[in-house]
Symmetry: C2
Subunit: 335 residues, 2 copies
Amino acid sequence: MKKLGAQTMIFASPPSFLGHANVVGKKEGEGPLADSFDERSQDDTFGEATWEKSESAMQKRALTLALNKAGLAPSGLDFLFAGDLLNQCIGSAFAAREQGVPYFGLYGACSTMGEGLVLASMALDGGFGERAGVVVSSHFCSAERQYRTPLEYGGQRTPTAQWTVTGAGAAVLGAAGEGPFVTHATVGKIVDRGIRDTNNMGAAMAPAAADTILTHLRDTGRNPGFYDLIVTGDLGALGSDLLLELLQRDGIELANHADCGKLIFDPQAQDVHSGGSGCGCCASVLTGYLLNGMREGKWSNLLFCPTGALHSPVSAFQGESIPGICHAVAIAVRK
Amino acid sequence: MKKLGAQTMIFASPPSFLGHANVVGKKEGEGPLADSFDERSQDDTFGEATWEKSESAMQKRALTLALNKAGLAPSGLDFLFAGDLLNQCIGSAFAAREQGVPYFGLYGACSTMGEGLVLASMALDGGFGERAGVVVSSHFCSAERQYRTPLEYGGQRTPTAQWTVTGAGAAVLGAAGEGPFVTHATVGKIVDRGIRDTNNMGAAMAPAAADTILTHLRDTGRNPGFYDLIVTGDLGALGSDLLLELLQRDGIELANHADCGKLIFDPQAQDVHSGGSGCGCCASVLTGYLLNGMREGKWSNLLFCPTGALHSPVSAFQGESIPGICHAVAIAVRK
């Protein structure tokens, strides 16, 4: 059986992480997870003349590091799944254009790492290849000017706002390997509860996270306690509280919840208000802190649940609410 | 064997088109393929207050029509693969948000219909579901103001420019069915030959089309003549000439080439310069003219090769060249 319920897949031959790596910016490298990052840049330009090119360079570097750890050249990949937050996903296209790897461009907003892991796992478990790469990125400076205001404007931020992580995370999955393994995936539906405040994305995404986590638990018949950690992508402080409240209404107490947006910055020392966000947030936390922790024996079973807000500045200006999505990926040290 | 060469998959249980449909705008409905479209709108606003909402409404309508033809409700889909050209792919997210279907957002520029068909076929042939939807769209008015100039500006167009199709195409694929069938897929690599003229996307994409078609023929051991038609997405008139020239250099004469960008408009009567473009171009031609023609016995084997330009206005302003991509999907009346 490859399907549990309507939304959850169980992988007959769980794909294995062969390599994973990340590159982050200066602020992220000064946060609580500093030691878990492969590269902490002191220069967020990454030597490039524009922020978009900086993001692309950072994403390319993360993939190279993950490939190195897996002992592979780009030609060792059957597929590359990539995405970012930039208009037309140029961060990814320009990072991938010299790699010569069959390419799938994804747009799942900050959930893209989850979307990529799900599709890569389907490709490998489906027997279509031996190795697949997943890489995503976000950059505070390219995001800020695209989504909000020019950096030079120095606008105030509301307490519910989140800080886009400058970071890229890459994973190389293999059909065979020593683990950790991707054992299950629950593909999310779009959930929109009418939140219109683009400075409160945690609230916009929490209902999608609740929906996907509940569906995953129902489909698999697992209790939340099966997992050592249930880790959402970037709900931040407020969104995390809302998630717990929504789940409580359904009789679920999450005692083992963590959120990458809360983990990556120090709320006291780093002034990021509600926490981190961006594709690179959960991707850099997964490919460092979380997977390293699994390898070190800290955790045996994780449910990785990246969240995304599928809106745009144009949809917001036109008065639209913010559609949210969340995919859940079960990762286990043993098959 | 599920893989031929490095880039081509052969589907052991070829997914079948269960339903396919399209909705186009006024200009497209006045073109040579008028009779092949399911709905030709006389009002490109589709009753909405903004062009982005119009595009979303059109995309949603196309999916509904395809589901109707397949005799399915949205809940009959295991997955929905969707994409468009708008920043953050809002055309698709807002079209899908009330459908309640597990959702994968894609960004492959004008190649997205191909990317979606490939991923949907992998999902079904891999055994992860019974039915998958693919839907993409483009709208002249939302694209023009996002990529070029406000409509009211009335800018002149260069002879190599293409006209973004107002159209959406949707397909419902099933693990079982009567065909036509998706038998093979060649996933494209990004190819960038340094073209910087954003008014000449045919030239930017032709090298990617040549690369993918050559790879497909090599991987499958097929001659071009195996196919009744080899149909590129939206190379337009100039890009099509360049494709044929590039293939000739490799000793391949394509006597059976067609291009959706050339097919959809009348070059004399409709003043579109080099032809049509946009995700909706090849999607509406595939889901009408091409698949209907296969059902009528006109063609038995098609190679559908959507092309995409993975750039953005920002990358162009920053002096970057235009990365191209092309996926090839082999469609056969019989398995």
